[in-house]
Each structure stands twice: as structure tokens, then as C-alpha cells.
Symmetry: D2
Subunit: 342 residues, 4 copies
């Protein structure tokens, strides 16, 4: 019997990517699709790449529209998920692709988002230690941010294995879809093509406390993260370059061993053969994470680089993966490690 | 029982795209993968986006390697397919993704390719009049060129309906993957990013006689084609802008009706709603063709625009579609009309 | 003594490009810079590439601000130039980079722009027959549209030499800056990168009557133009692919001769050596026009391709060139045929 | 009296950019242009954006060709400069745009380049402490690497002011022109568009010892650098994200003050207003360096970001700037801080 899924916020990039994946998910039947300003429009005008859904019409994001589904995905602006989730009842699986329920620390939430903390839901990154157990049977899932997905998967094995000092430095490049579909001057094609630019420098990006939360849990101590996101001239993809000082006694072999152990059985994370490095093009449209680690002996640092598709593993694919676990389906159902390249 | 498929030329862009599709084709088991200069290398080093095949090793393109398969796809340089096909025997389905067997007219072949004509195989564009019948049960398929796919599907309905004069003008923009993976200075990223440039101007492009062959067949008279291909700063996609003088009495309605009739039941060709125009991003990675037509009354011309992914519908997806028909499978098996966007 | 120049509309792409050129123009002193919604802002925040002007502050577009200059450039939305120009007085050189004064035929204006015709000013394309004479000493200049610049320079020599039939077919690809700096969803980097898409198909683009005006004047008869603009994934540049049926007796030699004659003494238009074709990258940031022509004997058409930078020769560079002529300066002052590549 | 300049290696990207700048340098007359494999070809076929030089023909890189010039620029593959320089004599100004003479430490050279050390020439980064004095009147200049230019200018003020611990972490994104014009598969447009990828990770990039050399000199102690270069989908530009732990007592104000002091009088380096961050698009084609610094108090790090055009300030513009100083010309002659954007 099919899982009936609704998508609240189907006109944006996260919603569109989710629909792309759900269309080929063998256990899912796509139910209501909602939008706010776009309610009443054909999906074909908003998501012209989703031809099988072209004639579907967006409905308003209202309780009576979202009722009667087994799963409701929320791809809403920050701060709107709590109210919608409350109306859906406890027996419905609600998967929030926004930030509202990711952070455990209310003070962190308030400092970075400037609004009261709505709560904490099971965190949808099954590759983290204990990650799967937290999701099995859960009726609520907070999908991680795209940068925290890339960064946590790059660095947690080093911290879990006790190889790295508790001060991480991360510089990540993201495709423009991470900034959403609302038109703003600095996101115009004319501005982004041919340009690299940073933003949220110096600790201000909202994904920083989420990274700290994940890495600190792995390390068993407070890890600081110096995080610099940059906007790259490509529609999709995150390349995260992460490093930390190596603890005494660390060798290239111990680094490699930690990552081999962490990812030996992970269906979506691939530690590349030595000498091969990730590229975002290789994971375009796929749920795969490519990872490679090096030990820079001259600088005394472990350097780990990961590549994900910010919309797939970083958002909608991660959401589907968590849904699969929460519903007791095979975790990989409807997901792929095959990229679209070149 | 699975169809066992070999791919000769698995290290290039056409071969890689074919493997991407075959990996999710429910009836196909991927057999031998061959290369020439790359024989002996891991596929993971050559096609890093195909993670499930990363540990496969390329073999040489030799008869004993290709033997024992139900289907053999040839993604070889022009002129090499005939010799390989001969060795495979008549009971094997051979699908040539090169140009060798596309043209019916030996003089055309020799004029444009400068070598003896190898013959003519059933042409793998099922949407053309009589196209499917020619492929059913066939053991040989010539996959169309990428430009002729886009242009023939844009214009044949107008010619089949007798709406257009026999002189077509086509300007098409292609992504760089159409030029292949052999490194040449003008294909460097530094050269193509930020630049549009034409090539083969004035009638010299080898796909020209193939377009003429298809459109003339639809029109029942010799159609000339002024074809200008241009290289666009994107990896994939063809946008073909095609026009011809409208015959007397043609109206916007008669144009629309001709296209509605031609494509009402086609699974991969979508005539867009009036007012919406194709974009290559919408068909990225999909086998879909988006088409729209207009009647420019001031200029007296029918203008038709089509968008395809040159590697999917334009090459590897078209090959799989023809394979499905030739083997008696559902034509859409393993193929999709869902693009990867943005 | 320096020419004192004001720029009304200094925050957009046309205004920014104009300032880039004026900054190195040896005869010009940059005076008032105005904006509407951006008045009061530092130019450094709006045009961060113009470091020497970073601390200049935009003023409102008001008569008292624009008074006291020798030249006033108008980079305003369509329909706003007439009112501003009237207030400036007849002795000031006013150069309108908008569309308001380009068309001679009021009916054309009203059909394509939907508002009353404001009038016709001398047309700033000196390379056209009689073009320079119309500008010398003039106090009003209408800068041509970017597409009409590229298309008129591609085709007028063929028409002036009587080589081409009076039905032109034009497909042009433009960089996104041609669509301006106002944020709209379809102009987001996420949408345009990796995509080619058409717009204004079927005769609806506002630049169509301007092309017809120019080519008809050269031909001495009414020329129709089937014009299809497409949006290309690059910030700048227009590649115009133009063709028309060759008149009887035309040869490759007669075509070449016509272009050699037309452009032998033009400082900014370069007919490329035979076999070399234009690319937009080659004219990036320059006032140059690269042109090449071919005779497609099989299709019976003359095919001419031109490349310009839509912001330089297509807008701001063309404006400076006309200013130089109007003021009696050397036409090439402050302008260059050197592109920024790769 | 004009300075007569020859360019050895005029067909590559560095040589092309140098010619673009020399063409508008008021004191320079362009003399011999040489190439190796390209000798005998028209420059118009190799550098189609340099229209004024289109008819110049490349000569072989031979002593008799390079003789008789006041300045000879060497844009040669690594290891070839010493032999050419020796033949030119001591009275000619020789400016090496390659790496051969940048490093002071012969062991560093041999470790990273694998060949005998050719020597050390005055280093062409005048903004460094003592940088100008070393160049005045010199007859030899080693132009810095593109990454070391961006990184040294980002970090030396923090080290010179004693604000930063001696362990720097640098992640830099470069446009593809930094990788040169030799065609290699991973530099194809199809590969780089839409992709970010790292290379030389873990301390292996040859520019690392050059950064260490510069920063250690500024700090007065050995500084280690963890350097990760990444290839970005754009033709030009470097965005360098650099950080180091703040020493005790450092504040946002002391960081800002150090950079204001370092760059108050520098003609090409611009410390942006607080809150504004560099973007590579803003320095496209210009010799400007945009810099911004932040103090991340939570992570305890100083984060500094710089943007340059790798071909201009990072190579050819830096070479011209050093030439100006060496010859006693105004340092800014023929150079600009105006970018080409969007």
C-alpha cells in the first residue's frame, strides 16, 4: 500500500527537488501540493522540469489540504513549520526541511534566528553515531541544513576517532540554489556567473551552531567551528573544505582508517580511493556524498573534503532517506548514488 | 530474464550517459565495458559520477570481450562501428551511437564524412512517421545525431502537415558535451565559459544531410536546411530554433493543431501550453523533448523551438528507447521525462 | 577643457558600464550620478567594480542635479527619457540609452511599446550609411538597442550591396545583463546557468521594428525580420546568427567583397579572416564588433554572424562613440577594440 | 621615449593578458612576440580578443629575436627562464612570470619543483614590507604566483602587526585560466562548468612555500600554511579565504586598524568598508585587490578574504606594476582598479 505524501511549499527549489525524487519512489504516492503566493498555479509553470506533474495545481497551505496523508513534508520559510505541524496530529510523519527543529540549545536558536525556540525533533542525518536509531519509528524529523550535512559527514569520523583538536576551520562553496528562488539582486545570473563571493563571514551563518552541535557530540567535547560559506557560479553542489589540527601521534594511516571504519557500510557516503578527490559534478542530482581525507604533516592538520548536492543529500534526498528509515522502508528506496555528469 | 548489455566506448560522454541510464533500467544487466586508450583503468577514475560501477575495469574493444551479450552499444569514433558490428553476428542487437549507419544516401555520406559508406541501419527516432515500425524486432539500430533529433522533432510535424515551405533555417545552441571528451584548446573551460561561438557555418556540419533526410521524408519533397550550430557555455542541452516560411492559408491554429496531433500520444515529446517556451534546463538529464511553435504573421514564418538533453534524448536515452522497442519492451522502460533542475 | 558628463540611472548595468568607460575617457569629467530608488547610496555598494567612484553618492534624477553638464546620459526605464530631456535645454547633448527615440514610425512605437510616441532622435549607429553625418554636431542621440546593433551591422552590407532577399531570419543569443538588474525569478543564477531559453518568439520582441527600420533603409525596400532572441548562460555578449536568401548570381566572392567594402575603414567593426568566426568572449568589455559571412550554396542563403558585447558596443560604448562624434572628438576616444579574455 | 617590450610566450593566457595591458600602456611599445609550438602563426588566431595585434606573427623564442628590447617578459613553462635570461644580458630588464626565481630557499625549490634551484630574483609584490625598495632600479623581477599574491596580501598585515598565531589556514578558489591553455581532460568546459573541485590538497601545491616565505618574513617567525586550492567554474579570479588564530588581546578594532594602516596608501589594494566583502567579479580584468577582515570571537580566529584577478594582479598586472617601479615610472601607469562587471 502506497505511502501518501503531501508537500507544503512545492514551488521552491527544495520542494521541486523533493517532488523529483518522490516521482520515482516506488512506495510513495504524491498527494497534495501547496504553495502560498503561488496557490492556484499549474506546477508546470513553476517547475517545468517535472513534466509528469505539469497539470497539478497548487493548493493553499491549509490544514484541510494537508490532512489525510501519511507523510507531510514541510518546505516552508523558517518559523512557519511549528504551527503547521501542530495541526497535523501525532500519527502523521512530519518532515521539516526548514531549520525550526534542528537545534537542541534554545539559546543558540535565539541567538542565530532571533525568535523563540520551537523545540527539537529527531535529526535526520542517519550516518552520525546513533543517527539511525533516533529516526526509526519517529513521527517527526528535522532535516539537517545543507552545509551541516556536508561538514558533519566530512569531520565527525576524525572527531569520533579522537584524531582532531577541537577547533575546526571550514570553507565551503555552494551552488546558488542553496539561496532559494526568491529573486534578489545579488543572486541574479549576471551577478553570480563568473564570480566567487563569501557571505556570513566571521561566525554569523545560521548553520554554524548546527555544525558545532554535531561535531561536539562526536568529539565528546565542545568543538568550535570557523565557518566561511561562499557562493559559487553553479546551480547546485557543496564542496566543503574542512580541517583541524591533528592530535599528537596521528598519521596518514590512522586518518584513513578512521574514515574507512566510519563509512564502510554507509550506502550513500563514499570514501574515495586514495589520490582521488571529490567534485560536486560527480554527485549532481544524486544522494551520494564523496569524501576524501589527507594528513598535511607540514602544517600539522587533517584536511577533509566532502562534496554533496545541496538539494539532494543536502535537503530533499536527506529528507527521503529519513522518511524511509522512519517508515521502516529500506533506507535507499527511491534514492541513488548515480550523479548526472558531465 | 535480464537483457545483458555491453558498452563499447564506456569512457566517453555518450558511454557514461548510457551507463547512467542502464544502471536504473530494470531489465538490463550491465556486462562488458570497453575502451581503447583507457582499457585497464577503473571506471571510477573515468566516470566518477557512476559510483555503483566505480570498481569495474575497462577491457579492450575486442570481439571476445563483446561476445555473449544480448545487446551491444557502440559509442565509438566515426568509422569504427562497421568492423565491430560484423564480428558480433546477426542475432545480437547492435545499437550504434555513432554516425556510420544513419544516412541512406552514400553520396551524402561520402561528401560529409570523406570515407566509403558503410550502409544504412534502421533509424532510431521512433517519433518520426513509421519510426517505430522500423525498429520493432530489428537487430541493428542507428541512433540519430543529437542535432537531427532536436531539429527533426521540431519541424517534421509542420512538413508532414504541409504547412511549411521546403526551405528550413535552423540555428541551434549545444552544450559542450556534444563535442566530446577529447581535450582541445577551444573546448577548455576558460574558452567556453562566458562565450557563445558558431562552428560549421554555411552548410558544413555533418548533421545537415541527416536533417534533410528526415524532413524531406516528412514533406514528401526535398527540403533544404540552412543549419548553424553554436557552442553554448553549458555542459548539456540543445536549444534548436527552427523556422520556415508558412504556406498560404496557414494560421496559428493550424500550426498548433499539427503539433497537437503529432505529439498527442508521444511519451517523451511534450508540446508545451501556449505561451510557455522550452528551456534546456527543464530537460536536463531526462529523455523529454519540449516543443513549442508560433506563427509569426509579420514575417510569414512558422517558428518552432525544441529543447533536448543532447546526451540523453540526443544520444544515450534515444539509444535505450530504441533498444526497448527493438526488444519488445515497453518503450519508456528505464527512461524518464523528469529533468534535474535547477 | 573637459567635457562634463552626468549619468541619470547610474546604478543599473547600462549606467555602470558607461561609468566604466567614462572613467578612462581622457576628455570627460564625471559629474552628477543619479538614481531613483537608490538615491542616497554609495556607488561602491551598487557598482563594487568601479573602485575610483566608490565614495560617490547617488543623487535623485532631478533637473537641478542634471543641470550644468555638457552631456547628460539617460539610462532610464522606457518612457521616462522625454520628460527629463525637455528640462535639460537644447544646448546640452542628451544621449538616451533607452528606446524612446529610436523608431521613426509612430505606429511601430505604439504597437510594440503601447504608449504615445515621444519622437525620433538621430540614431547612434555611425557605421550605417549616412550614420556619422546624422550625429555630427547633434544635441540629441538615440542609442540603438543591443540586438539591433548586432543584427544591423551583420546584415546591412548584404542589403546595401543588393545581395539578399528582403526576408531576414535572425536568431540571437544574449548574455543576461541585457535583461537588466531588476531581480526576477527567471533571471536568477540558478535558472540561467546551464540553460538556453528563448523569449519574445514569433515577432514580439521590441527590437524587431528597429532592425526592420535599419535593414529596410539599407535595402531600399521593406525587409521583414523573423527574430528570435535567446537567453544564454553568460553575463555579457550577443552572438547574432543572421541569414537571408541570396539573390541570383551571388557568390562567396561577392559576399566577401561587400563586407570588405563596408568595413574597410571602420575602427570598431572587424571582418574576420576567412575561416575564422566570431565569439562573444573575444569582444568582452570592448567596443569591437566581429563579423564573418558565408554563402551556403546548398541552402541558397547568405549567413552572417556578428558578436558584440551587449553592454559596450551594444549600449554604453555605442553611446560614447556617438558622443565623440557629436562633440567633434576623435570617434575612438576612450574606446577600445581589445577584449578581456579568457 | 617608449620602452620597447618583448613577450616570450605570447600565445598563452599570461602572455595574452600581458599584451592586453601593454596595448594601453602609454610608455610601452610592443616589440617581439614569441612562441614555441605556435611560432609562425598570426596572433589573431591565438588571441582573437587582441584585435590591434591580430596581424602580428609569432617568432621563435630565440636570443636574436629577444635582443634589442628594454624589457623582456618571460611567460614560459617552469624551468625555461634561466637559460633565456642569461642570454639577454644584465642591462635588459627581465621580468619572469614563471616560478623559477621566486623562492629563496633552494631546498624548498627542489622539494616542490624537483629540479635544481636557478636562483632568486627581487620579488614583484611591492605591497609587502620593503617590497618597493627591492624593485626600484632592479634588472630582474620574479613575478609572484597568483595564489601567493592573493594570500600574502590577505594575511601579511595581520602577521606584521603581531595579531595572528603562526599557523594559517587558506582555502582558495581559482578560475580555470590559472591552469593554463594546454588542453587536459579535467579542464574541459564540460568538466568544470557546474563543478567545484580541489587539487593539490594536503600541502602539495607548489605555491605553498612561497606563501610561507612571505608570511614568515612579515611575522618574523616561521608561519605554517595549510593551503587548499579549488577549481571554480569561472574563467578568471581568485577568492582566498584565509584565517589564523587571534593572539590574546586581539579585537575587531585592532584587526581593522592593522589593515587600514597597511593599505591606506596602496593604489591597488582596497580594504572594503565594514560589512562589504570581496567578490571576484568586482576585480575582473583589473589590477585591484579587494580585502576584508573579520574577527570571529566565537572561534577565536581572524578571517581575511581577498579577491584578485589571477591573470591581472595575479600575473600580468603584477608584472607591469613591477616593471613600472623598476623603470622609475609611476607605479600605476597603464593599470586600473576598474573591473569589468557584471
Amino acid at each position: 500500500m502506497a505511502v501518501r505524501a503531501a508537500v507544503a511549499g512545492a514551488s521552491g527549489y527544495a520542494g521541486g527537488e523533493l517532488l523529483r525524487l518522490l516521482l520515482t519512489h516506488p512506495e510513495v504516492e504524491i498527494g497534495a501540493l501547496t504553495g502560498n503566493t503561488n496557490a492556484g498555479q499549474r506546477l508546470g509553470a513553476l517547475q517545468p522540469h517535472l513534466l509528469p506533474l505539469a497539470d497539478r495545481v497548487l493548493e493553499p497551505t491549509a490544514p484541510e489540504v494537508l490532512a489525510g496523508h501519511d507523510v507531510v513534508f514541510l518546505a516552508l520559510p523558517h518559523g512557519q513549520s511549528a504551527a503547521v505541524a501542530e495541526q497535523l496530529g501525532d500519527e502523521v510523519l512530519v518532515i521539516d526541511m526548514g531549520a525550526d527543529f534542528r537545534l537542541k540549545d534554545a539559546a543558540d536558536w535565539e541567538a542565530f534566528y532571533g525568535s523563540p525556540h520551537a523545540g527539537t525533533w529527531p535529526y535526520g542525518l542517519p550516518e552520525l553515531p546513533g543517527g539511525r536509531a533516533a529516526l526509526e519509528g519517529s513521527k517527526r524529523v528535522a532535516v539537517p541544513g545543507c552545509y551541516p550535512t556536508a561538514v558533519s559527514l566530512a569531520l565527525f569520523p576524525a572527531y569520533a576517532a579522537g584524531l582532531a583538536e577541537a577547533e575546526a576551520v571550514v570553507v565551503a562553496a555552494s551552488g546558488t540554489s542553496g539561496a532559494g528562488k526568491s529573486p534578489k539582486p545579488h543572486l541574479l545570473g549576471s551577478e553570480v556567473m563568473g564570480s566567487m563571493s563569501p557571505y556570513g563571514v566571521g561566525g554569523g551563518h545560521r548553520h554554524t551552531p548546527e555544525m558545532i552541535q554535531n561535531l561536539s557530540a562526536a568529539a565528546g567535547e565542545r568543538v568550535t567551528v570557523s565557518f566561511t560559506p561562499t557562493l559559487a557560479p553553479m546551480p547546485r553542489g557543496i564542496l566543503a573544505t574542512c580541517s583541524a589540527k591533528a592530535k599528537p601521534g596521528v598519521t596518514a594511516e590512522s586518518v584513513r582508517a578512521a574514515y574507512e571504519k566510519a563509512y564502510a557500510d554507509e550506502p550513500f557516503v563514499r570514501l574515495l580511493p586514495e589520490g582521488q578527490w571529490p567534485a560536486t559534478a560527480s554527485v549532481y542530482g544524486s544522494n551520494a556524498v564523496q569524501v576524501q581525507a589527507a594528513h598535511d604533516t607540514a602544517a600539522g592538520r587533517i584536511v577533509v573534503i566532502s562534496a554533496i548536492d545541496n538539494l539532494t543529500k543536502g535537503t530533499a534526498g536527506g529528507a527521503v532517506q529519513s522518511m524511509n528509515i522512519a517508515l521502516g522502508l529500506d533506507e535507499t528506496t527511491g534514492l541513488s548514488t548515480i550523479g548526472v555528469a558531465p
